[in-house]
Symmetry: C2
Subunit: 323 residues, 2 copies
Amino acid sequence: MSHPHALPTVADIRNAAARIAPHAVVTPVLRSEALDALAGAQLHFKCENFQRGGAFKFRGACNAVWSLDDADARRGVVTHSSGNHGSALALAAATRGIAAHVVVPDGAVQAKLELIARAGAVLHRCAPTQAAREATAAQVQRDTGAVLVHPYTDARVMAGQGTIALELLAQVPALDALITPVGGGGLASGVAIAAHALRPGLPLFAAEPAGADDAARSLAAGRRVEAMQPDTVCDGLRALVGEPNLQALREHAVTVITVTDAQTIAAMRLIWRELRIIVEVSCATVLAAVLQQRERFAGRRIGLVITGGNVDLDALPWVVSPR
Amino acid sequence: MSHPHALPTVADIRNAAARIAPHAVVTPVLRSEALDALAGAQLHFKCENFQRGGAFKFRGACNAVWSLDDADARRGVVTHSSGNHGSALALAAATRGIAAHVVVPDGAVQAKLELIARAGAVLHRCAPTQAAREATAAQVQRDTGAVLVHPYTDARVMAGQGTIALELLAQVPALDALITPVGGGGLASGVAIAAHALRPGLPLFAAEPAGADDAARSLAAGRRVEAMQPDTVCDGLRALVGEPNLQALREHAVTVITVTDAQTIAAMRLIWRELRIIVEVSCATVLAAVLQQRERFAGRRIGLVITGGNVDLDALPWVVSPR
């Protein structure tokens, strides 16, 4: 691919799958009779909370790190991230023995900060705004020569995230629909490109918090809505959808379903109780969306991407209300 | 097998595996780099929290239910259980369309009671003593003609639990050691019989709460110690080890390692955080034992049986101390 902000092709995604295979986990697909009964559908949960670093983000970061030529790689990588992309990039950099710099906005989830530090990254704190994140990352680039790996607009990252769809459709070929959360859109766009290459016309959905529904608004408006102050408990979905990501959502006719935080927290608890896995609140948007629109999904075989499991166990949303 | 209280053979366990195959889940084996580093060993977690009903108990119950002839089956089944065996028997009975009666001692974990009721069993409450449990179950037997399926001394149940070892050794053939929790001993005995049939001489361990260490004491004393008031947060491990179970532990030279509740709670939290799965506190005894005896297990490939994931999410032991 010529430009890091172009969209990846399915060939890029297949290359990414080969590139990350030595490092990434082939994550299991879990099911629950109780959740199937509740939804009136067959739910197949692709469990990226079991991915290295506890989130799908390792796929994109790993593909980006191993896409660099040796000269670029030597200078290290840098990103800004509220959590999972940061630790993913740090872990990916460690697999190649290169430096990782992570710009972290104040207010990030403690469990995610610990993972970033544990993976050996250099942490750079900044104010919790998009402008501060980008300015701090640019400063680190100037100071170190590190290569920027944007959490979702980077085509190498999108290609890595798209490998989830290749893997899931190999594990469960007969899906009738596929749903991911959408924040910045790296996952949703990569998955859309890969899924439609294998299964043209497969209905694709993205779940978005009502308090950060810029993707839904942007698709409705026909242009990227930027005037939005995200207000949601889903810390992983506060980023505004990226321009190339939005383009992919549009081209692949991804339907965005918005869900309230209350619906998401209830769905998170259902996943914990019925699937017996630890998932972060952002993941639960996908189940919340399916339960909100039971009729739309009734009787269908749905793939739901569970994005991560990095949670502060001392601050569960149903124990200490975050708002 | 002639008598329900004899020990099962490996042939019984292989038959059980075939009998439960249409109903049970082949559970995944999960790993964690962080836990490996902490233990200085290779840990392979056999995740029976993903079994039907959220616990390994479904295997034994399912084997018992499908071992009955049609005339016996028609009268239904009965058991006494503080939780997981009860819901397992109810679920197993439902797969055959027969009635299940479950005698539940007061003070059982709420999440487990809900599972029993949800699986369609008839609940019979009793005082939380062994005598009350047995008397109430006997009364139900007299009233209904239901067949008693004891939670751990029943050979059909032990055979079902032993299928875990067949499955785990097929998934990870090169294990150097295997550890399960021990309460009544249905799991530990079935696993010992199956594991040694496949791998004679494989070192076998059982983890036991210090506050319910009757198996350790019984093995040391050379006879079953019955004067014990269990005092442990591990609600699934309060039962006294059964006579046939103890015999199997002795014959197979199972080494019992006792762990404190504090060690177990810390290990539970580690499993939640690093494996990102929901496990009940009893399961965590196995990791607590491995971490307590790092030198014994150093560098070895260890199979750890994670027994279940039925937890009151509102009463986590590190949020609200149970004692």
